[in-house]
Amino acid sequence: MATQEDNRIALLQGTLDLLILKTLALGPCHGQGVARLIQRQSEEVFFVDHGSLYVALQRLEDKRWIRAEWGVSENNRKARFYTLTAKGREQLIEKTSEWRRLSRAMGLVLDGNKGPQETEA
């Protein structure tokens, strides 16, 4: 297994993690809602791979940056709702400034390239 591949995944994971944290900062939400919100917020530029999203959610939950519990959605569907924890909020603040510069640079590059088709391979 090439280490290069590892690095790339880590980088993209970070991106998705940050997007999730940011979305959840607005309030508790279930996975489908998070995916929709990210797509909408990014003006449909980001396509969120749902499989990756749920694995990322689980990872963040394992890290205790977010908390989850089963609940009922506005249209009466059973759904798993995620909430940002205090630890997650700290991470969000910390990572945001760090990522802002990077994403600006990425944005500049990506804008020149029609934007990415996927956030994760």
């Binding site: 279930h30 809602g33 749902h50 499989g51 990756s52 749920y54 694995v55 059973k78």
Partner: protein
């Protein structure tokens, strides 16, 4: 981390809910029911993949995979049991032999004494003992005055520990009613405290015990276990030693069995002052213990603990003068021109002295077993490579189906670990047995049980081997690449020329190593042959010997009477030809050595030759019984008594050394008249060089308590012993026969180490041959198999069977030639390091080399016979049709 894990079902549930939510939203956006569900699912991508990734996030996955690989490995081992058993067997032999030899080497050469801070403990040595003193050994024995002087120098050695042997082998003890034998030392009061040996029970000795000559004893843990079944009530018990009661005051810590080479002692008592407790059981002339009063009797072994902050060199510097003065107490100073003895220290190892004696042979042995291991490991690697080459398609298919190379490597490593674990377990069992056998052969009584170091080294070797077995065949396994799965012809897919290069190099290398082992084995075998052929100068057939240590006789006259009476009774036994007694048993490595006066003068032989004469106190009929020819004069007779003129018998070399061309009879040695000259013969061991020797009549000397009785009998000599025991019991019912055995066996004991090395050398040589033959056979058989189609084609176009057979034989003979060419220089190196243990054979003995080369060629031909036959019987039509 310790939270309840989230179940896979819960995750699946979440995904289902996602799809529903998404479908709802899409319907709201105006899609139809079916279309919405379809699109939601489409957008999600592979649900299975997401679930798998959730599952993989689990940190126990590796275990899961490991178990799967293990199951797979076991299955594939079951499918080729011959391969698995061969590999495991070879590994077990190779590693086991290594562990066993390393255990012994570790115990003998590396392990320190089980004492506190062993680096600070030293054995004292002297370059020589002064002239005019009696000594047990030159070099490691000191007199009591030296001990007294050295222990005053606290700024050099904070503790000086004295050890005196109670007897040459065992002493009589009585625990309950029956007489028994036990091995014991007499030690200074600081023995346990100074060495820092803990007591499992009770207490050790004190300085007061030494000065009072207290009748107390500390028993060894082994003796406590063996004799008293670890009875905690042993402390306080009374044990009679030589009829004198001693109170048990303690049990030494487990693992401490004395400070002597390879010995395992039963108990220790403080230095004693009574006559019967003289060192080596030598009776004292006038009540006082000779070793305490006699500065001319160098009989104590000394150990020391370096004072804090003092280096060895500093300690020696501080002690040298004191030592050289003390060495001449009672001698009135050194003789004119006498070289002063020089004190030195050596490491206090578990086996002091063994380093010089057995060190280099053991190292050679270690190298030999390492070579065997190397051959065994190469064999297994070749086996694995051959096997994995046939599994190439399996691997290619798996690569083609998306398995990663890492996964294949992991699987190979797991399979190798399985082999190595099985082989390792077997090896450990094998090593345990082999170590015990080695220890018995080498006459090492103390524990050789593999310790942590041995275990560590063995595990290290196994781990290395496991990685090797996994990684090396990996290259072969994946050499085909994924595309090979598409090929169907076994001939094309296997015709990989480079692959067999490794096998050929490995076989040639093995053969080189095998030559080394065969040559070494041959040299050792010839050494053994020579040793067994050495003329002893006596007739050992029919000689049986045993020791006695009579307790109920107290004066010299009584002792002589005891032995005379015994001899008288034994001589009349049917089948007994003659009987004699001797103080030192011949062939037991023991000898008395002293300086002598010839015709009232110290003989002047010039500086290079020491004037030491070996002597022994013997009874009448001694030379007749042993079968040693008397060349001049007479030997001892019953008429030589304490009151008759003192007489001595000397050997030829004595005459040559001290009397040159004069008629030796009538000359005086010390206060004795020389009445006879006998042919040179062996005294202490088989391979000693002849030394000037003198024999005195035991009845005219300070009689010794313990003596050995030698009998020449007709027929089965050992069968005579029960009768002998009865006769002895008539005189003293409490007297055991000490080490009764054939005289021949007694002499063989002195070369047991050489015998051991020779047998091991032969064994390793044969083992190597067997391993190499298997390896060569495997490689050739494999190659013939691979080349079946080619051979068929050759025969189809007109090659004769002989040509095909020659093709295969040429191959293996070429490998043999290369192996021999590389092996001979290596064997010459090995032979040179063996030089010290060889006897009567030069390291460059051409016979050994010729035999090794011939052996190699025979093995090569034998191993290639079957593959060659198979090649010759290839049916061209069938071969060409196989694919």
């Amino acid at each position: 981390m310790f939270r309840r894990r989230r179940s896979a079902e819960d995750f699946a549930e979440e995904i289902r809910s996602h799809l529903e939510l998404e479908a709802d939203e899409l319907k709201r956006e105006g899609l139809g029911e079916n279309e919405a569900q379809r699109k939601a699912r489409l957008e999600f991508g592979s649900v299975r993949a997401a679930q798998e990734r959730f599952y993989l996030r689990d940190r126990w996955v590796w275990l899961d995979k490991l178990l799967r690989d293990l199951r797979f490995g076991l299955r594939s081992m079951r499918q080729s049991p011959v391969f698995a058993l061969t590999a495991i067997g070879m590994l077990a032999l190779g590693v086991g032999a290594n562990t066993a030899v390393f255990s012994v080497m570790n115990a003998v050469l590396l392990r320190s004494l089980p004492v506190a801070d062993p680096q600070r403990v030293v054995n004292l040595r002297t370059s020589r003992a002064p002239d005019r003193v009696d000594r047990i050994n030159d070099g490691d024995m000191f007199s009591y005055p030296v001990y007294e002087a050295l222990r005053e120098q606290k700024d050099a050695l904070s503790e000086v520990i004295a050890v005196g042997m109670l007897s040459a082998d065992k002493v009589n003890v009585r625990v309950g009613g029956e007489p028994e034998e036990a091995e014991a030392d007499m030690v200074s009061g600081n023995f346990f405290s100074g060495l820092g040996v803990k007591l499992a029970r009770g207490r050790g000795f004190t300085a007061k015990d030494e000065s009072d000559h207290a009748q107390v004893m500390v028993i060894s843990y082994k003796y406590w276990t063996r004799r008293f079944m670890r009875d905690p009530g042993v402390v306080g018990k009374t044990i009679y030693v030589k009829g004198v009661p001693f109170a048990v005051i303690g049990v030494a810590a487990e693992g401490f069995e004395g400070t002597d080479p390879g010995q395992s002692l039963d108990f220790w008592i403080p230095l004693q002052g009574r006559g019967e407790f003289n060192v080596l059981g030598r009776p004292a002339k006038d009540g006082s213990a000779m070793y305490l009063a006699d500065s001319k009797w160098w009989c104590l072994r000394l150990m020391g603990r370096l004072a804090p902050g003092v280096s060895r060199e500093q300690a020696i510097a501080r002690l040298q003068k004191v030592f050289q003065t003390a060495a001449y107490v009672g001698l009135g100073g050194p003789m004119k021109g006498e070289r002063l003895p020089v004190l030195s220290f050596v490491d206090a190892k578990n086996f002091p002295g063994y380093e010089e004696q057995a060190g280099s042979p053991l190292q050679v042995l270690m190298v030999m077993v390492s070579l065997v291991l190397l051959i065994a490991v190469t064999n297994v690697v070749m086996l694995l490579m051959a096997r994995n080459a046939t599994r190439q398609r399996e691997f290619s298919l798996r690569l083609a189906l998306g398995a990663r190379r890492g996964e294949l490597l992991r699987q190979l490593l797991v399979e190798s670990a399985l082999l190595v674990t099985a082989g390792g377990l077997l090896a450990w069992g094998f090593a345990e047995v082999a170590t015990r056998v080695l220890g018995r052969w080498a006459q090492i009584e103390s524990s050789l049980a593999p310790d942590g170091v041995v275990l560590g080294v063995t595990l290290g070797v196994l781990a290395l081997v496991a990685v090797l077995f996994g990684v090396l065949p990996f290259r072969v396994a994946i050499a085909g690449g994924a595309e090979m799965a598409l090929k169907t012809q076994s001939s094309t897919s296997n015709a990989h020329a480079g692959r067999t290069r490794f096998g050929r190099i490995a076989v040639a290398l093995q053969m080189a190593l095998c030559v080394v082992l065969l040559v070494s084995g041959g040299l050792l075998a010839r050494t053994l042959w020579n040793l067994e052929k050495i003329p002893l100068g006596m007739q050992t057939d029919g000689l049986v010997v045993f020791g006695l240590n009579p307790q109920k006789v107290h004066t010299e006259a009584e002792l002589v009477q005891f032995y005379q009476e015994l001899q008288r009774r034994l001589r009349v036994l049917p089948g007994v030809e003659s009987v004699t007694v001797m103080q030192n048993r011949v062939g037991s490595l023991w000898s008395n050595n002293s300086n002598v006066m010839v015709d009232g003068k110290n003989p002047d032989l010039g500086k290079r030759q020491p004037t030491i004469v070996r002597n022994n106190d013997v009874g009448p009929d001694f030379f007749h019984t042993l079968g040693v020819p008397v060349l001049l004069g007479r030997e001892f007779i019953d008429a030589d008594t304490a009151t008759s003129p003192k007489v001595a018998v000397v050997n030829e070399l004595f005459v040559q050394t001290f009397l040159q061309k004069q008629d030796p009879l009538g000359h005086r040695m010390n206060d004795m008249v020389i009445v006879g000259v006998v042919k040179n013969h062996k005294y202490a061991n088989v391979n000693e060089d002849p030394m000037p020797m003198a024999w005195e009549d035991y009845a005219q000397m300070k009689a010794e308590g313990a003596m050995n009785v030698e009998m020449r009998v007709r027929g089965d000599a050992l069968a005579m012993l029960p009768m002998v025991q009865k006769i002895v019991a008539q005189i003293d019912p409490d007297l055991p026969l000490i080490k009764p055995m054939l005289q021949r066996a007694q002499f063989e004991e002195t070369i047991s180490q050489q015998i051991l090395f020779a047998r091991l050398g032969e064994f390793f040589g044969l083992l190597a041959v067997a391993l190499v033959a298997t390896g060569l056979y495997g490689t050739l058989a494999y190659r013939v198999n691979m080349r079946t189609a080619e051979i068929g084609l050759r025969m189809a176009v007109g090659a004769k069977r002989e040509q095909v057979v020659w093709m295969i034989l040429k191959d293996s003979l070429l490998l043999t030639a290369v192996g021999i060419a590389v092996g001979i220089p290596l064997a010459m190196l090995a032979g040179r390091s063996l030089a010290s243990v060889l006897y009567g054979v030069k390291p460059l003995d051409w016979v050994s080399y010729a035999l090794a080369v011939a052996g190699m060629v025979v093995v090569a031909l034998a191993a290639s016979a079957i593959p060659a036959r198979r090649a010759a019987s290839v049916n061209p039509l069938v071969a060409l049709h196989t694919d």
